[in-house]
Structure formats: structure tokens, C-alpha cells
Symmetry: C2
Subunit: 193 residues, 2 copies
DNA sequence: TCTCTTCTTGAATGTTCGTTCAAGATACGC
DNA sequence: GCGTATCTTGAACGAACATTCAAGAAGAGA
């Protein structure tokens, strides 16, 4: 026996970055080779093909984001404060990173959309999971009496997610902190109102 | 002398559709030939290359959308009603069309982003124009006493646009009329509140 | 009707792409 | 320390790509 020499998570995160910056179609195997340090043969051995690498990268992205999300709600602060912090982090990401630091899920969703129903389904499922997780947080906020019982948590989660999508796209044309922060502020206010 | 045989607007709208459905990178010249009915030579003669065709298509898209926008505000109804109608139309587009009927501008913005600063600039400028046009409508609504003078029209325009971006992305995973209409409803309410 | 000019056509070009595979390298079991 | 199973390497492959161009088709002017 002999085990593989590369760190799978590291490779997948490099691939994620490559896909996020150039998009799936424009990222060539040569780009992936440069990004991951793996030779084509190894990539094909480990992930079957370019599409398999994208699938694995999407799964890694899901795990990373899930861990990140849960970290935001692990403390003892009021749930709504955690939600605001989470939103502020989205804004910070939009500003700080190189301009193309979008979410891999939405980036891939926009690009692949109709052409690959399986990937489309995976992405939709992932985003639905995030939506579900958000809805649970809104339920939690209601139980903390920080949010009116009248509110529909599912609707709030959808609206919140819609806002995040919008923010990310908006950031492409207006990467100015002040403007994005103001938008996030209103989004949060409208949800808590 | 002999004039060209094809209808430039028709060709550009066909190209627009092709680019919107498959994205720029994935749309091959063969696809464009099929979509436009033009042979490669003619395309290169008229638009220099594939990128030139995208530029021309973007310009045509801008003109079409500008005309569409102005039509929504040509009547004598209150401006806010027109805005709501405009928003409802966005939602209707998200639902009715084949799932990939996004906005060419945002689609291209998401895909090309960093790789072509000239196209990035053109798209940003176009979206800024729409934002500016929206801000003027909010100003108009204020003068009609339908909106508080306290409100910042520029901010409202940005928030409205953010919502539209978000709606379009959201529609990719939830193409259900009821959900999208509910989101649009709240967006409108939050802006007018 | 003939000629000139311009447009149209689609096969050919060189390049780049995703993918394969056989040869070489390396760690593990004995 | 040897044999072997497995991983790594990178050259090679056909396919598909954007682009070119020379030959053919067709309107305009006489």
C-alpha cells in the first residue's frame, strides 16, 4: 500500500479558488494544475475528471461554509446579534477580497444553471440548507422574544438570503464599504422591523 | 454597392439569447452561427470577433432595456405604481421564461468580472445608469408626495436594484411564483415604508 | 446584359482544450 | 533490502475551439 501524497482539503480549496475567480468553463486543467500543484493524471485519478473536481470542491465548500456558519452562532449572544455579525461578514468579504471573491455556489449557479441539472440540483440543495438553517435561527430569535411571533421565519430566511445574493452582485459594481454597509444595515432593519 | 442582407437588431437579439442561456465562454461560434443564422465569416466581418459580438449585444440589450424601462413610466399613473409594475415584471420574467432567462448584464458581470476590465466597466456603467434612472423615479415619487422627503433616493435606488439582483439569483433555486411574489411584495413595502 | 463591387460561404488553420496512458518513482509488507 | 502495489509524471491524443481567407454568389450601375 501507498497513500496519496497530497492534502485533499488543501487541493480542493485551491480548486475552489480557481473556479471562483475564472468560472468553471474558463478554468483550464492547466490552471487547475498550477493552482493545486497536482498533475493532470493525479487529478483524473482522484476526481475522475474536471467536473468531478468541481463536485468535490462544491462539497468541500459546503462543509467549510457550514462550519463557518455554525461558528457564528456558537456563542451566547442573542441570535439576532449573531445574524447581524454574519451579515457584516458577508459585506466584509465583498469588500476585502479581490473583486471576484463571490460565493462559489452562486457563481456556479449563475454559470452552469441549465447545462447540468445534477450540479444545479446540488447547488440548489446546498442553498436550501442554508435557508433552512437561517429559518431555524429566526425561530430561535422568536423564542428569545427578540422577534415578533407574527413573523414567518421561512419568509425571513428567504428575504435574508435574497439580500445576500443581491449584495454580492451589487458589490461587483460598487465595491465601496460605505454603500454596502448601508444596504446591509437596511436589510437587517427591514427583517427585524 | 450592395447592402448587408441580415437584420442587425435581430442578429444581436439572437446572440443575446445565446449568451444568456449558455454564458459567454460556453457559447461557441457554432452556437452563434445556429442562433443568428450568420456564417462565421459574416460575424467576423460585422463584429470583428466573438468579443465584439458580445459588446454589440450588450449595447443592444442596453437600448432594449432602456426602452422597456421608459415604457413603464410613460403613463399618467403614480410613479410608485409604475415602479411596482416594473418590479412585478421582473418577477414574471423570472418565472415564465426558461429557467436561465437572467439579465444579460448581471450574467455577464458574474461570468467575466475580473477577466476583462473593459467589459466590466461597460456593464457597471449600464447598471449605474439604471440605478440613476431609478433614483430619478424616486425623486419624482417624492415630488408626488407619495414618498417621504426624508428618504434618500439614491439609497432607495441601490436597495431596489439589490433586491432585483437578489430576486433573480433566488429564482434560480426557487422558481415558484408565490415565493418570488412574496419577496417582491416585501421589497416594495420596505422601500415605501 | 455585362462588369464591378461587395457580401456570403464553409473548408482550412493553428491553438488550446480535456483526457489518457505507459513509464518512472516511491512507500509499504515481508 | 527486496518485490510489489500504488501513486506520480508529463508527453501524446483527438476533439473542439476561435479565427481566417479564397472562391463563389449576387445586387448595383451602365
Amino acid at each position: 500500500m501507498r497513500s496519496a501524497e497530497f492534502d485533499k482539503e488543501k487541493v480542493l480549496r485551491s480548486a475552489m479558488n480557481a473556479f471562483m475567480h475564472k468560472g468553471y468553463a474558463k478554468t483550464s486543467m492547466q490552471d487547475l494544475k498550477k493552482a493545486t500543484g497536482l498533475h493532470p493524471g493525479s487529478i483524473y485519478c482522484a476526481f475522475e475528471n474536471k467536473r468531478g473536481l468541481l463536485l468535490a470542491a462544491l462539497e468541500q465548500y459546503r462543509l467549510d461554509r457550514k462550519a463557518e456558519f455554525e461558528q457564528y452562532f456558537s456563542g451566547t449572544q442573542p441570535t439576532l446579534d449573531n445574524l447581524k455579525a454574519y451579515l457584516d461578514n458577508v459585506v466584509a468579504e465583498c469588500i476585502s477580497c479581490d473583486s471576484a471573491q463571490a460565493c462559489l455556489l452562486t457563481k456556479a449557479l449563475n454559470e452552469i444553471s441549465d447545462q447540468d441539472t445534477e450540479i444545479q440540483q446540488i447547488i440548489s440543495d446546498n442553498l436550501s440548507m442554508l435557508q433552512q438553517a437561517l429559518a431555524e435561527k429566526f425561530e430561535l430569535a422568536k423564542s428569545e422574544k427578540a422577534l415578533s411571533e407574527q413573523k414567518d421565519s421561512d419568509h425571513l430566511a428567504r428575504y435574508f438570503l435574497m439580500g445576500i445574493y443581491g449584495l454580492r452582485t451589487f458589490a461587483h459594481t460598487h465595491p465601496e464599504a460605505k454603500v454596502l454597509e448601508q444596504l446591509a444595515e437596511q436589510l437587517y432593519a427591514d427583517i427585524c422591523a
